[in-house]
């Protein structure tokens, strides 16, 4: 395994007078897809913004993409793509101009834009309309398209499913799957767990600015809508064992590829599959 994508050791981040993160320990390997969940105001978005180098590391250590967030922050930023709550678009510029500006600012090659826009279904006519006229869902797709075009090493998606329709969510799923397959690391902060858990190989629960749980999801193939995820994770901090229970009843017909052991073996946390199929972190 090369250097891990994200390493946080008891990181405290204080914004204003308030400790949004009060001692976070997290280790994410390259190529992992991790869902960060927790109640509102638990610090999910703050964790993502910290990894993006936008929040100060008041105490503890933080390395992202091999760069220390206190000294080499600029180095890390080249490898990080952040999809925030409000997509970063200038309302007066057209979609195309927006993306060209952001790509050039990030020193990326604007030639990848058409492909990315097509993939997210916002290409063609939409390119020349002003960003201000787009619907929230379209704006989010454009923002995702920017990430696809830039293809950073680390994807930080904050509530990516917000304002996306069914088709949009599927596209997001595919994009994340392809990114993970291509070796990028994806962190998703989300409330919509059914969608997010399908994509993720690991769940991190955060509450009160502290990581209170870290469970592994045995997510099998994502691919088509019919993918199922055998949920062997222990949702830490809740005491509820999420036994073998597929996500949606209607999804049962698609067989789960690969045996239990095969799926769980490549999960980084080395889960012990006990005989009765109940896996404990």
């Amino acid at each position: 395994m090369s250097t891990p994508a994200i390493v946080l050791k008891s990181v405290v981040s204080i914004v204003g007078q308030f400790p949004v993160l009060a001692g976070v320990d997290l280790r994410v390997e390259r190529g992992e897809v991790v869902v960060v969940e927790g109640p509102n105001g638990a610090g999910k978005s703050s964790l993502l913004r910290l990894c993006a180098g936008l929040l100060p590391v008041s105490r503890g250590e933080a390395q992202v993409a091999g760069y220390d967030l206190q000294e080499g922050r600029d180095g890390a930023r080249k490898h990080i793509g952040l999809l925030g709550h409000s997509p970063a678009l200038y309302d007066d510029l057209t979609v195309w101009e927006n993306l060209v500006f952001h790509m050039k600012a990030a020193r990326a090659d604007p030639a990848r834009i058409p492909m990315a826009l097509e993939r997210l279904g916002v290409g063609g006519r939409l390119e020349s309309t002003r960003a201000g006229l787009l619907s929230a869902g379209q704006r989010r797709r454009v923002a995702i398209a920017f990430l696809v075009a830039r293809h950073p090493e680390i994807w930080l998606l904050d509530e990516p499913h917000a304002s996306l329709d069914a088709e949009g969510r599927e596209m997001l799923g595919e994009t994340v799957a392809q990114a993970a397959a291509a070796g990028s690391t994806v962190l998703i902060a989300s409330h919509e767990l059914e969608e997010a858990l399908v994509l993720a190989s690991r769940v991190v629960s955060i509450s009160g600015g502290v990581v209170v749980g870290d469970g592994v999801t045995a997510a099998s193939r994502i691919g088509s809508r019919a993918g199922t995820a055998r949920f062997g994770a222990v949702a830490a901090g809740t005491g509820q064992i999420l036994a073998e229970h597929s996500l949606h009843q209607d999804l049962l017909q698609a067989p789960v590829q690969g045996t239990d052991q095969e799926i769980l073996r490549d999960s980084p946390q080395g889960l012990r599959p006990s005989e009765d199929g109940c896996n404990v972190a």
């Binding site: 913004r49 993006a52 180098g53 936008l54 922050r73 600029d74 930023r77 080249k78 990080i80 793509g81 952040l82 925030g84 709550h85 409000s86 997509p87 970063a88 678009l89 200038y90 007066d92 510029l93 101009e97 500006f101 952001h102 050039k104 600012a105 990030a106 020193r107 002003r130 923002a143």
Partner: protein, 222 residues
């Protein structure tokens, strides 16, 4: 750095052409200021002419503040500022880009206000060289100082009131020197203008360097 400067300036000016805020709102405002001054100083010509240089620079000062506030409101959207920082744009480039964009907008406004003064106040210009040079130097200086303070207060709660409080005292030398240079421009004895232009030049140079040096630490404090 030059790359980022042109990138940011191009973006700002393109947004300006699309949204036409300067043309639709600030230009009428500048002329309005001239008319209000006329009301304040009475209709007869000579007080207006003697006060014309000062009025010009007062109009420019107010326009600078609006231009700075407008320019930094573009990036006020949460996501936008993060993406700018994340993209790793060189802070000095960002500063110079903003400075260039605001400078162009201000210069356009100044041409308008000058013609306004000539028409409304009937001032006739003896040596336009002074006006042009002092206009350019003054604009660059005001834009530089304005951009520094614009960035400093952007993101703060009471930035609308803080910006004038911080910016206007700093800009006072430009007002003084600019007015004198303009007066000479109108009266024509251009020999006496060199100290004032020197002062304007010094102000502009000083604040451009300050912006480039100080913009780095300012940026990563967001």
């Amino acid at each position: 750095m030059l790359r980022d400067t042109l990138l940011v300036a191009g973006k700002d000016l393109r947004i300006e052409l699309r949204s036409r805020v300067v043309i639709n709102q600030m230009a009428p405002f500048a002329l309005l200021v001239l008319v209000l001054f006329a009301f304040a100083l009475g209709p007869d010509r000579n007080p207006l002419i003697t006060a014309a240089p000062g009025l010009f620079w007062m109009a420019v000062l107010f326009s600078t503040m609006f231009a700075v506030q407008r320019s930094f409101s573009l990036e006020s959207a949460e996501g936008l500022h993060d993406s700018m920082v994340l993209a790793g744009i060189d802070p000095a480039g960002f500063f110079a880009g903003k400075l260039l964009a605001i400078g162009c907008e201000l210069f356009a406004l100044e041409v308008l206000v000058t013609s306004g003064i000539i028409v409304l106040y009937g001032a006739h210009v003896k040596s336009p060289a002074e006006l042009l040079v002092s206009g350019i130097l003054g604009t660059v200086g005001l834009a530089a100082a304005g951009t520094i303070y614009g960035a400093l207060v952007s993101g703060m709660r009471l930035r609308e009131t803080l910006l004038p409080l911080l910016f206007l005292p700093v800009a006072s030398p430009v007002l003084i020197a600019g007015t004198r240079a303009w007066q000479i421009g109108l009266q024509g004895n251009s020999s006496a203008s060199s100290p004032w232009l020197g002062l304007l030049g010094a102000f502009a140079a000083l604040y451009i360097c300050a912006g480039i040096v100080l913009y780095g630490p300012m940026e990563d404090m967001k």
